[in-house]
C-alpha cells in the first residue's frame, strides 16, 4: 500500500518530465500534399449526414460544402441563386415561382429535375410523413411542378423571410432516389462526400461537374479533434492545416507557420437573466447589473480585447438591423448601479448563481470576470458549471436557472432568428422576458411586407431589449481561424458555416 503511494508520486514526476520533451519536439513540420487539406472540427456529425436531419451547428457547417438549396448565402450575407437560377414572388407574397438552373448535376452524375426539388421541399415541410424539419418549413402549403424547369411554391401565410429559410443547409435539394442519405449523402455542392469513419474523420473530394466556380482543393479531410489543446498540438505537429472557432489563448500558442484570420462568431454572448425569477423580475435590478459590468474589461481579460461589444440581441454581421449606438447605452457606473439597487430594495446587494456549461471555456472565463465585477455593487455571484446536456435540458428547455452566460446564434439570415425568442409566448423564450410593447411589435413585424418598415420595427424591438435591460449583453466574440501558410482564400460568412470551396493552395 505504501509502495503504491510512492509509485503514484513518482508517476506524477514522470508525467511532468514526459511532457517537457513533447513541448520541445512539437515544432516539427510536415509538408501537406498539394490540394489536400486537413481540417480539424470539434465534433463528429453525430446527428446525421442527411441535411434534412442535421440540427447541430457543427454538422451544418460541414454539410454546407456538400449541399445547396434553391438559394444559398454568400460571404456578405446576401442570398444568391444556387439550384434555382431565379425566382419571382407574387403580389400577395404567397406564391414563389422558382426557375431551375439548367444542367445542375448531383454528385452521382444525374441532372437535377423538378421532381427532385419537389421531393426535397415536400420532405422538409413534413408532407412525406416526417415532422417538418423546422416549423417555418411547414408554411409551404403546396409545391407543384409547372414544367421541367419551374417549381411553384405556395405558402399558407405570408413570410417575407421565406427565401432566407430556403438558403439554409436544412433546405438542401437532394435526389428523390437515394435511400441512404444517412450514410451516403448526395447533393449538388462543390464537394462530394467520400467516406466517413465514425469519431475519426470525414473525407470530401472536389466535385468536378459543379455548376458554379469549382473548388480549388481536390480533397478535404475533416478530422474530429474534440479537445482544443490537442488541436493546438496537432496544428503545431503538422497533422492539421486548419482549425476554426479558436480563441486568442489558443491562437497565441501557434507558431509562425500559420496565418490567423479574425472573424466574429456571430453570436450574442450575454449574461442571460431569468426575468421571471426574483430579483431579476425588477427592471431596476437588471439595469443595475448592466451598469455594474465593464464590458471592455471582460474583453481585455478574456480575449486580449478582441471581440465586438454589443448592447442588444443583435450582432454586427446583420448590418441592416444592427444598432451600434445601443452598445454604449450602459457604461460602467458603480454609483448609479448601487442607487438602482437601493431603489429596488437591495441596498446590500444579493446573491445569485451563474450557470455555465462546462464545455465552453470562453463563457466560463467571461463568467469569472463578471463575478469579480459584480462584487463592486455588493452582488455575490457563484458560478455553477453544468454539463452541456444538463444545460440544454435544465437551463434552456427547463428554464430552471437564475442567470447563465451563453452565446445565442442565428440559424437563418434574418433578425427574427434572434428577436423571436423574447416574444413572451415563444417556445424558446428561455429568459422569460415579457413586455407588452415588445409583444405587440413582434406580432406586427411578422405581418409586414415592406422591408424598410420591417427593419425599423426590428430596431425598435432591439431598443426595448436594451432599455428594459432584458439581459446583460456583452459581446459578439472574436473567433479565429488558423490556416497553414501554404493555403489562402478562406472567407467568413455571417452564418455558422465553413466554406472550403474558396480555400486554395498558395503558389
Amino acid at each position: 500500500m505504501n509502495l503504491l503511494k510512492i509509485k503514484k508520486s513518482f508517476l506524477i514526476i514522470l508525467c511532468l518530465s514526459l511532457f517537457l520533451p513533447t513541448v520541445l519536439c512539437a515544432c516539427g513540420k510536415t509538408e501537406t500534399g498539394n490540394g489536400t487539406i486537413n481540417v480539424g472540427i470539434a465534433q463528429d456529425l453525430e446527428d446525421s449526414l442527411d441535411p434534412h436531419k442535421a440540427v447541430a451547428a457543427g454538422s451544418r457547417e460541414v454539410l454546407f460544402n456538400i449541399f445547396e438549396g434553391l438559394l444559398k448565402p454568400d460571404p456578405k450575407g446576401d442570398l444568391i441563386p444556387a439550384v434555382a437560377e431565379s425566382y419571382q414572388v407574387s403580389e400577395d407574397g404567397l406564391t414563389y415561382t422558382f426557375k431551375l438552373r439548367k444542367n445542375v448535376r448531383f454528385h452521382n452524375g444525374r441532372i437535377v429535375t423538378a421532381e427532385d426539388v419537389k421531393f426535397s421541399l415536400d420532405k422538409i415541410s413534413g408532407k412525406l410523413g416526417d415532422e417538418p424539419m423546422l416549423p417555418v418549413y411547414a408554411l409551404m402549403q403546396d409545391v407543384s411542378i409547372a414544367d421541367e424547369e419551374t417549381v411553384v411554391v405556395t405558402l399558407s401565410e405570408k413570410d417575407v423571410d421565406f427565401p432566407a429559410y430556403l438558403a439554409m443547409v436544412n433546405a438542401a435539394i437532394v435526389p428523390n432516389d437515394n435511400p441512404n442519405m444517412d450514410s451516403d449523402p448526395i447533393g449538388t455542392g462543390p464537394f462530394r462526400f467520400e467516406s466517413r469513419s465514425i469519431q475519426d474523420q470525414i473525407v470530401m473530394s472536389r466535385f468536378d461537374e459543379y455548376w458554379g466556380t469549382k473548388a480549388y482543393l481536390s480533397k478535404v479531410v475533416f478530422k474530429i479533434v474534440p479537445e482544443m489543446d490537442t488541436a493546438v498540438m496537432n496544428l503545431r505537429g503538422g497533422s492539421l492545416d486548419m482549425y476554426a472557432h479558436m480563441t486568442t489563448d489558443q491562437i497565441s500558442q501557434l507558431s509562425g507557420d500559420f496565418q490567423v484570420l479574425e472573424g466574429t462568431m456571430n453570436l450574442v454572448q450575454a449574461l442571460y437573466l431569468n426575468n421571471a425569477r426574483k430579483p431579476f423580475d425588477d427592471e431596476r435590478v437588471r439595469q443595475a447589473l448592466c451598469y455594474a459590468v465593464d464590458r471592455k474589461a471582460v474583453l481585455d481579460l478574456t480575449s486580449e480585447g478582441k471581440g465586438t461589444i454589443i448592447g442588444s440581441s443583435m450582432f454586427p454581421a446583420f448590418s441592416k438591423y444592427y444598432m451600434p449606438e445601443l452598445s454604449k447605452y450602459y457604461t460602467q457606473d458603480i454609483e448609479k448601479a448601487k442607487d438602482l439597487l437601493q431603489e429596488a430594495g437591495y441596498p446590500n446587494g444579493f446573491s445569485m448563481s451563474i450557470t455555465v456549461p462546462s464545455n465552453y471555456q470562453p463563457h466560463i472565463n467571461a463568467a469569472q470576470v463578471l463575478v469579480e465585477q459584480l462584487k463592486d455593487i455588493g452582488v455575490t455571484a457563484k458560478i455553477e458549471l453544468v454539463e452541456w446536456n444538463t444545460w440544454l435540458s435544465e437551463t434552456y428547455a427547463g428554464r430552471n436557472f437564475e442567470s447563465t452566460v451563453i452565446g445565442v446564434d442565428a440559424s437563418y439570415l434574418t433578425a427574427r432568428a434572434l428577436l423571436e425568442r423574447f416574444y413572451s409566448k415563444a417556445d424558446n423564450n428561455f429568459t422569460n422576458f415579457s413586455d407588452p410593447e415588445y409583444d405587440a411589435l413582434y406580432e406586427k413585424v411578422i405581418t409586414l411586407t415592406d422591408d424598410e418598415e420591417k427593419t425599423a420595427c426590428y430596431k425598435e424591438m432591439e431598443t426595448i431589449l436594451t432599455e428594459k435591460a432584458a439581459n446583460v449583453y456583452i459581446q459578439d466574440m472574436a473567433e479565429f481561424v488558423a490556416l497553414r501558410n501554404t493555403f489562402e482564400g478562406y472567407q467568413f460568412y455571417p452564418l455558422y458555416v465553413m466554406d472550403m470551396s474558396k480555400v486554395k493552395p498558395k503558389n
Binding site: 500500500m1 505504501n2 503511494k5 510512492i6 503514484k8 508520486s9 506524477i12 514526476i13 511532468l16 511532457f19 513541448v23 482544443m228 489543446d229 493546438v232 503545431r236 489563448d249 489558443q250 497565441s252 500558442q253 474589461a297 481585455d300 481579460l301 478574456t302 486580449e304 462546462s358 471555456q361 466560463i364 472565463n365 463568467a367 469569472q368 470576470v369 463575478v371 469579480e372 457563484k382 458560478i383 455553477e384 458549471l385
Partner: protein, 267 residues
Amino acid sequence: MNNNRKNHKLYIGLILAGLIVLLILAGLIRSPYPPQKMEASLKLAGISAAHPMGCDQFGRDILSRVMIGARTTFLIAFVTNAIGLFFGILIGALTGYFGGFFDEILMRFNDVMLSFPSILLALVLIALMGPGTYQVMIAMGIVFIPSYARIVRSEFIRFRNMDYVLAIRLMGGSHLRIMFLHILPNVKGTILTSLIIGFNNAVLCEAAMSFLGIGVQPPDASLGLMLSEAQGFLFRAPSYALLVGFVMICMILSFSLLSDSLKEVQG
C-alpha cells in the same frame, strides 16, 4: 546506518511538510495580492520579483492563488479523511469485534464499494449532489470509508481474543469500553500510517476531480483546478503548470516520506 537513512526521510518529509504548512498559514494571514484580483496588463506574466510565480490567464497572482489553493486542497483532504476515518473506525470496530451476520452483510457491501474505482464512485455521487467544494468533501469522504473500515476491522479481529481483552471482559468491562478504550489505542499506529496514505490519496483525488471540472468551481482555487487551467497555456506559460505541479508534488511527497519513516520507527 539504517537509523541514519530513516532520519533523512523524516527530515526531508518534515521540511517539505513544514514549507507547505507555512505556505498555507501565510495565506491564512495575508496573501501578497487578493487571490481573485484580475489585471489585464499582467495576463500570463512571467516570474518576477513582484510576482514570484508569475500571473495566470486573468492576471491573477499565482503565488496568492497557490496559497489559498493549497489550503482548499488541504482542507478537502482533511475533511475527507475525517469523515472516512470516523465512519471507518465505527464500522470496522463493530464488525471486527462482534463478527457474525452483521459483519458478513456490511463487509460484502464494503467489497462492492471497493470493487469500483474510487474516482468513478465519487463521480456518481457528484452527479447526484452537484459540483462544489463541500460536495467533493462528502463524496470523497464516503468513498474513503470502506478502506478504513477494512483496516480497522482486521486489527480488531487480531486483538479481540487476546488475553488482555479476555481479562477485561472477565472483570466485567463493557463491550464499548473494551473496543474504544482498550483495543483502539493499540490500533492507532496502523491507523496513523493509513491516515497519511489516505491523505495523499485525497489530495490526488481532489486534483483529479477538479481537473475534470467537477470539483472546486472557478473562480475559487485548488491545486487541481489550477493545474487544469494551466494546461491550456503549456506553450505560452509553462511555468504556470510546472510550479503548481511542483507544489502538489511537495505536498504528496512530504506525507509519503513522513508515513514511511513513521512506519520504520514503529518497525
